[in-house]
Amino acid sequence: MTQETVTAAKSIAMRGIAWPRGLRRFAGNGALEILALAGGALVWEALGWGLRLQWLPPFSKVMEALLQFVYRGVILANLGSSLQALVLGFSLSLVLGLIVGALMGRYRVVEKALDIYVHALFVCPSIVFAPIFFAVFGLSDASRIAIIVVYAMFVMVINTSTAIRTVDPSLVEMARSFGCRERQIFFRILLPASLPLVFAGIRLGMGRAVKGMINGEMLIAFVGLGALAQRYGAQFDAAKVFAIAMVVLIIGLLCNALVQILDNRLTRWAD
């Protein structure tokens, strides 16, 4: 779903209910989100103590495990390795995704040749490639990076090619009427015009890259946050697994915010 439809849906939902004026202002400040999170934590805490399930430790226990991790430097030691793979893998998929997507969007021949592969790889659960990468690259960082690339790249290819293909043809015609060459049409018309949709793809790609990072580490590498989660999972230490999940969640949200900030700066005209 695009950002516009999300905000549109939000505003309709907000308008549909006769909110008390104070509550509406409260909600506008993002306080509602904080309230929802606090509520969630409370419910979790209550369920944890009430049900006493092995796989559902109370929220406070998870936080305790998390604080211990931070205090002992476990998080920091593993975070670096995970983030390095994430940055490299995501950058690679971004560059490849934009180039392949742009070529597919602009040239019918390229689109026809690659479309089936891109869609097949997009639909296929990327984790099935893990054993192959393991066989090729072994226990190196390259395996993890390759996993991230297959996770993140194809959604960006698809969005970029759709974005380029759906640029208003009258803008291209206008540019040609002023004597633009192919290069100028690309950089002055196609690129800026497709930016909003390209950014939607980058946001999705970022989310998938984080998933790829963890999945890759759980399956083929014995480093990073994923490996840590794998180890505690094997020990049935649910509090620690949840603590790691928290860290991953925060990384995901921060990455998303980063893309969002860039998006807002570059595509304000499309709002």
Binding site: S170, E173, A175, G179, P192, A193, W269
Partner: protein, 257 residues
Amino acid sequence: MIRVRGLSKEFGTLDNGNGGVLALSDIDFEVHDNEFVTIIGPSGCGKTTLLRIIAGLIPYDHGEVTIDGRPVTGPGPERAVVFQNFALMPWADVLSNITFGLEIRGASKDECQAKAIELIKLVGLQGFERRLPKELSGGMQQRVGLARALAVNPQILLMDEPFGALDEQTRRLLQEQLLRLWEHKRKTVVFITHSMDEAVMLGDRVMLMTPRPGRVKEMIDVPLERPRSREVEKSSAFLEIKEYLWDNLRAMQSGDA
């Protein structure tokens, strides 16, 4: 001078030569320097196709199209197009939209700036330099489109139903503005329209086209004095030509209605 001789254009021809639709057939006409020619005809008469061929945006099959004797093989610096849907870049402000053509043709920053300021004044968009197209009314957007075309100082202005998407009042205001601009700085204008008033009000000559395939039915002289004001709409000559156009257009479209 624009000269079109024996021009025809077919769309959608298959490799075996079948399946094509003849959009234009055997078109002959010329537009003299500094002349204002309006082209009118029912939808499907290929008037927009004709304009795009003159603009060098699409190729043609037979015949020849020349400008001052040189055959048209693509867009050229002596021509500029004003589009029906304005074709403004939504991410660029008014100033950047106006200077687009200049920048493409390698003008310096100072040159662009100076020219843009001059044109913004000419089309009456002072104070809107930094606005985005979506913040402007349709009439203002098309004034940006017009300024962008004028910025490259073309000898020929090709206008494809430029006021067709505007409401009646705005359209009339822009017609008057275009007339003033043209009186002030003569250019060769080819102006596509589907409004009979517009065709007669603006043109030195009106080219009437028939549909399927598009052919030139007639070139009609408009002997109204210039500069023209709204007053000419009441003159018998104006009404006579309009009536004549309507008789012809009605006959052409009676089968479709």
